[in-house]
Symmetry: C2
Subunit: 149 residues, 2 copies
DNA sequence: ATCGAGCTTATTGTAGACGATTTAATTAGG
DNA sequence: CCTAATTAAATCGTCTACAATAAGCTCGAT
């Protein structure tokens, strides 16, 4: 008697698939820089805000140190960032961009920007979809965990 | 002179965040069944289509055997599915639902369905957002990899 | 009958994601 | 001023995700 749940009618599944498509899109677009998508958004956040602690980067990306520590170690090994314990507060690790990262900044902006043109969405459509997805995110975030048990 | 890319203006980032919120939402809603979201959609697909090979399940979910084999082994251990090599074609592994899974079907539909009401989107809004996200997915899927290099 | 092309599943290696725990450093309270 | 609580990062365990590779099977052509 219960209404069946069809996968292709579920918004969660559409978002799940779209996220994987974006991941594939960026893995192609970023291959020449050997950056993954999570590494790329870490870089974007540092371009935007400058040197930050691991915690602060995590707040901009909704990621915790369990994800960021190994990711940033890989980015450090690849020469994008440097990590240094703060002298003022030795609990913090400050993450800053290397010369390579600042030198490549405009090229990366330009290359990724040109890749985005292949999406071929007019700005208004792009903005409208983004606003709706953001509202889904906010609605979900507002649900207390207890409601779901 | 290149236009900076602001994280919070990127559709990819909105979708990335929304996908993680949905993951959290379902991890709460499915906790009582000890199912993860990828396990849940595997179950949904089997409820919908009945016994299938690993390959066919993968086609409904856009996942390959590298993801599905270990995931399904866990679901088998937890008593949701059984895996058996096909007698007709011994390359295939047929995946079918256990009695537990069919017995729980309506309860799971109902519980997840009731959790969805907390999203509080009218059907038309839900459908409109879903259609737009699907179109993003399709647009991305249509871009040949070579364009992005 | 058998050989090989092509298909299906399994395995491996790398990278994310996140909850839970641990360790170290800082702050606050009595 | 010292201990308790808080905070930050790292670590660990578990679960995805996917590319690349391996292994085994089927079927058709010879």
């Amino acid at each position: 008697m219960t209404k069946p749940i069809r996968l292709n009618e579920q918004l969660c599944f559409s978002i799940y698939k779209a996220q994987k498509q974006f991941n594939h899109f960026y893995s192609q677009a970023l291959a020449k820089y050997k950056l993954t998508y999570p590494q790329y958004i870490t870089l974007l956040s540092l371009y935007e805000h400058g040197t930050m602690s691991v915690k602060e980067v995590g707040q901009t990306l909704n990621l915790d140190s369990g994800t960021l520590t190994p990711l940033m170690k890989r980015m450090e090994k690849d020469g994008w960032i440097s990590r240094k314990r703060s002298a003022q507060d030795e609990r913090r690790v400050d993450v800053s961009l290397t010369k390579k990262a600042t030198d490549m900044r405009d090229e990366i902006y330009e290359h990724v920007g040109s890749c985005m043109t292949y999406l071929r969405f007019p700005d208004e459509v792009y903005d409208a979809i983004k606003a709706q997805v953001d509202s889904v995110d906010e609605h979900l975030a507002a649900i207390p965990d207890e409601e779901l048990q």
